[in-house]
């Protein structure tokens, strides 16, 4: 190991990095960010923006840190006067034709041109007397606008489409200062992963129409989360403004999704903002459902479980529920035969060719594997078939269609409905409990590769809605103030880890922001 390490000194800080590391990555180890535009760790480096020029002792010219590999004993100056002067020169060149329309630009606040200019650019312009270059805004694709005037020609978008998406529809058109990003004739930027060019763009040149003028970057709250779109489990950030989700963006996880997410996942957030939410517990009183407080509702649920003890039960769950919720709700039924399943909507698979193992998966739920691990593993059809002989049915936010709702009603068994939104089929339930969505709680999903990943709460739950794991935890702990009932997602996960060998030894804290893969021996363990 050690013979593969080379030592370089960056701005006075010696660091040991593996041979072949570029200076820009080595500098990160030294705690130095080399300003850059064209470089991106998930794309090939063309070294064209010339922003990352650094001074290396004994080299006559400044070198681009993004493509220069470290050499043992190198002494590098990122913030020497010479390197800073070069960067200031680049910033000046980038800005002469930039419209400086930050007040109406979506990127403002998270713009690398803004940041570096603020950090070390010139205070004034020396390009006062000329009209700036103008090109009209172009419609590149279903969700993507190209604002050429703001473009700094870093070509990240071109390289993403070429070498990662494998669909080279973007190019650099024209030469010299007339150059812009072009799109091939008759082509649209509609690749299932094309939306990544918006995130990759370091300035406000490629914009998402969906997010256009929705919010200023500094007004957004951000929560580290996991995409609920499919079993891939791409790491995402949920951006909210005043408790309303306004966009999902990819969050780096080199093992799962590198820096990318698909467009379908990106679009799949509107359900988090639904207004038709269940907001109070409802318990049956004759032919009516009446609002109750949580104490009464939990008592009613406990009673229902007692009354039906020993009789076969059916659990119809949503694969968007966290492992904690699925696991603890499943535990409620531990004393009886259970047919438990999640409903798995299917869609087309859409791989990203440049990243092996990354695809929009056919199974469009995030926690299919987590459900299996906690014992919600029966086929959906089997669970529906078992409705007839059931003594109790628990619905955990399963998205039932009309036919399924009819079959549920026909079973005659009492129904405990834990749901997020109003549903016709809940009208016949013995009790209806409002639960939180994944955006409103902290929990975990287990992706298709057995990676347990934590998502954090991005917004508040409406009304009296509580996480489903809280509901189940309270009932499992019994009536009265019991210190044992989990009060946080992390405690709920601990409870699960005690009960299920698969999760033994794991905690929310140990999962970190990029998750952990379960030990192979753990696979296939049920409740």
């Amino acid at each position: 190991m050690s013979q593969d390490l080379v030592t370089v000194t960056i701005d006075g800080m010696p660091v040991g990095v593996p041979k072949g590391t570029t200076l820009i990555e080595a500098a990160k180890h030294a705690g130095v960010l080399v300003p850059h535009y064209c470089y991106h760790p998930s794309l090939p480096s063309p070294a064209v923006c010339r922003m990352c020029l650094v001074e290396v002792e004994k080299q006559p010219k400044l070198v681009p840190a993004c493509v220069t590999p470290v050499a043992d004993g190198q002494v590098v100056h990122v913030n020497s006067p010479k390197a800073k002067a070069a960067r200031q020169g680049v910033l000046e060149f980038l800005l002469i034709n930039h419209p400086l329309d930050c007040p109406i630009c979506d990127q403002a606040g998270e713009c690398e041109l803004q940041d570096y200019t603020f950090q070390e650019g010139r205070a004034g312009t020396r390009y006062a007397e000329y009209a700036k270059r103008f090109n009209p805004v172009e419609d590149f694709g279903p969700d993507i606008l190209y604002v050429a005037n703001r473009c700094i020609l870093c070509t990240r978008c071109v390289r993403f489409m070429d070498s990662v998406a494998g669909t080279p529809v973007l190019n650099v058109s024209e030469r010299g200062d007339r150059a812009t990003i072009g799109i091939a004739e008759q082509e649209r930027l509609d690749h299932p992963w094309a939306g990544n060019v918006v995130d990759l763009c370091p300035v406000g040149s490629l914009l998402s129409k969906d997010f256009l003028h929705k919010a200023r970057a500094w007004d957004l709250d951000k929560a580290a989360s996991v995409c609920p779109g499919c079993t891939q489990g791409c790491n995402v950030t949920i951006d909210t403004r005043d408790d309303v989700v306004v966009r999902l963006r990819p969050r780096a996880n080199l093992e799962v999704n590198r820096h990318f997410m698909c467009d379908e996942g990106r679009r799949d957030y509107r359900w988090m903002n639904r207004g038709d939410r269940l907001e109070a517990p409802l318990v049956r009183d004759g032919d009516r459902l009446v609002a109750a407080d949580w104490d009464a509702a939990l008592d009613r649920l406990a009673a229902l479980l007692r009354e039906t003890a020993g009789r076969p039960a059916v659990l119809l769950a949503s694969g968007r529920m966290g492992t904690e919720s699925l696991g603890l709700v499943r535990r409620l039924l531990a004393d009886r035969p259970v047919t438990a399943a999640v409903k798995v909507p299917l869609g087309e698979e859409a791989p990203l060719p440049g990243v092996p193992g990354l695809a929009l998966r056919r199974e469009r739920v995030p926690n299919l594997r987590g459900a299996e691990l906690v014992g919600v593993a029966d086929p959906w059809e089997a669970a529906l078939g078992a409705l007839g002989g059931a003594g109790l049915v628990v619905v955990l936010d399963a998205p039932l269609d009309e036919g399924e709702a009819r079959r549920l009603a026909a079973s005659g068994a009492p129904v405990a409905w834990l749901g997020t939104v109003e549903h016709e089929a809940a009208r016949g339930a013995a009790l209806v409990l409002p639960v939180a969505t994944m955006a409103e709680e902290t929990g975990t999903f287990v992706n298709r590769d057995d990676r347990v990943q934590r998502y954090q709460q991005a917004k508040g739950a409406p009304g009296m809605a509580r996480p489903a794991w809280w509901v189940a935890g309270e009932v499992l702990a019994g009536p009265g103030p019991d210190a044992d009932a989990p009060q946080t997602g992390a405690q709920a996960f601990l409870r699960l880890a005690e009960l299920l060998p698969a999760f033994a030894g794991l905690t929310h804290a140990s999962l970190g922001f990029t998750g952990q893969v379960l030990r192979p021996a753990a696979a296939g363990v049920g409740a």
Binding site: P46, A47, V48, C49, R50, M51, L53, K61, L62, P64, V67, A85, A86, G89, V90, E92, F93, L94, I96, N97, R126, Y127, E129, Y130, I152, L153, N171, V172, E174, R175, G176, D177, R178, A179
Partner: protein
């Protein structure tokens, strides 16, 4: 020879011996004039001996950089099992340079023979001749010559009955100056946008199609058969100045001289004699003002600096400029230096490939400032701004186009500052309409 002028007695006519002689264009005509002897001799010599011969001759790249040719060939890996390529850079686009054009126009077989010898030396079975897109006249000439060469087994499988096979492909560029830069040329050859590549890797490691490649200029290749036939000592002996500059060189003289044209001279020939003797000097009543000695990319020399300068790599470098491609632009006292420099800068702004920020934006901005000065709207501080921009454009980009744009600006301001100041102080009438 100074085609279209008759050869001057002070020229050393080697490459240009048959310029103006249409009979030299055909295969038979070329053989009658001693052609295709060198390749037969080379095939019997062995590769290493050939490379050593070229090294010993002192031949240096004639495209502009002056890199020792034999050394460049020796960088090619041996027995690596990969296909090797020879690429002939015939994308002669440097303003003021028109020597390769004449070599290809009159003696296409001279170039083909040079290609064959080098291909054999570096183990390349395929040669690409990348011809500048605007050279419409040359394309059919090269095509015909190649056809004849194939028909006579000079090119193709087992050339001249030997074990060596060499195919030659003539590729016509799409007309971009930057494709004369060797790595941009390789990209263009591969069908990509003609953007210069980052080095390393150098072409000898990963060039055309990722394979070991040597790129040589037309004139360099045309000199090779003569070295093979007449020996390294003969070539090395062609030297009037620095021993590091040997052989003959074609100088394309243009501008304010009475007899513009190509002149083939022994290295180290006095620059002043070329301008005033061979090229006929200034027009009556005019005096020499400035010379750009090596194509538009090199710093300008004043009339005073021309004095005593020899035409070789070292002597011109001593004066702060470069021999470059040997494209010599001569300017007399009627020349407006500001306007001249503006025109060059405009050229570079047009031809920038747009990859590097400094070049894309800097060339165009520099042109705008010069335009404004010429329009009588210059300001105090403009010259400092131009020098600042030039500093930011020098030594910071992937290729040297940006440096080439800055060079005439810097040398122009340093040497002809009063002309810039005359526009800025409004003591000189505007030369351009207001912008």
């Amino acid at each position: 020879m100074g085609y279209p002028h008759p050869s001057h007695p002070r020229e050393t006519v080697v490459l240009s011996k048959h310029f103006g002689d249409p009979g030299a264009r055909t295969f038979d005509g070329w053989v009658q004039r001693g052609g295709y002897q060198a390749i037969r001799q080379a095939l019997g010599m062995g590769r290493d001996a050939l490379i050593e011969l070229v090294k010993a001759s002192g031949l240096r790249g004639r495209g502009g950089a002056g890199f020792p040719t034999g050394l460049k060939w020796s960088f090619m890996p041996k027995d690596d099992g990969k296909p090797h390529y020879l690429v002939c850079n015939a994308d002669e686009s440097e303003p003021g340079t028109f020597k390769d054009r004449e070599i290809m126009r009159w003696t296409p077989h001279q170039l083909i023979e040079g290609c064959l010898i080098e291909a054999f030396a570096i183990g390349a079975e395929r040669v690409y001749i990348f011809v500048r897109g605007e050279f419409t006249e040359l394309f059919p000439i090269l095509g015909r010559a190649l056809e004849e060469a194939y028909a006579n087994n000079a090119v193709g499988r087992n050339i001249f009955g030997s074990q060596t096979s060499v195919d030659i492909v003539v590729h016509r560029g799409a007309g971009a100056y930057i494709c004369g830069e060797e790595t941009a040329l390789l990209n263009a050859l591969e069908g990509k946008r003609g953007n210069p590549r980052i080095k390393p890797p150098f072409p000898a490691q990963a060039g055309a199609f990722g394979m070991p490649t040597t790129v040589n200029n037309v004139e360099t290749l045309a000199a090779v058969p003569h070295i093979v036939l007449r020996g390294a000592d003969w070539y090395k002996g062609l030297c009037l100045g620095s021993p590091k500059s040997t052989g003959t060189k074609l100088f394309s003289v243009c501008g304010h001289v009475q007899r513009p044209g190509n002149y083939e001279l022994t290295m180290g020939f006095p620059m002043k004699d070329l301008i005033f003797d061979l090229a006929g000097g200034m027009r009556p009543g005019r005096t020499l003002k400035a010379v750009i000695p090596g194509g538009s990319s090199v710093p300008i020399l004043t009339a005073g600096e021309v004095e005593g300068t020899l035409l070789d790599y070292e002597s011109i470098a001593e004066k702060g400029s470069m021999l470059g491609s040997g494209g010599m632009i001569v300017m007399d006292d009627s020349t407006d230096m500001v306007k001249t420099i503006w025109r060059y800068v405009k050229f570079y702004a047009h031809e920038s490939c747009a990859q590097c920020t400094q070049c894309r934006e800097g060339t165009a901005w520099t042109a705008k400032i010069l335009e404004r000065i010429l329009a009588g709207q210059g300001r105090e501080g403009d010259l400092q701004l131009l020098l600042d921009l030039a500093e930011n454009m020098t030594g910071k980009t992937i290729c040297v186009l940006s440096d080439s744009c800055a060079a005439p600006v810097v040398s122009g301001i340093r040497k002809f500052r009063h002309e810039f100041e005359a526009y800025i102080s409004r003591s000189r009438a505007p030369a351009l309409a207001a912008v």
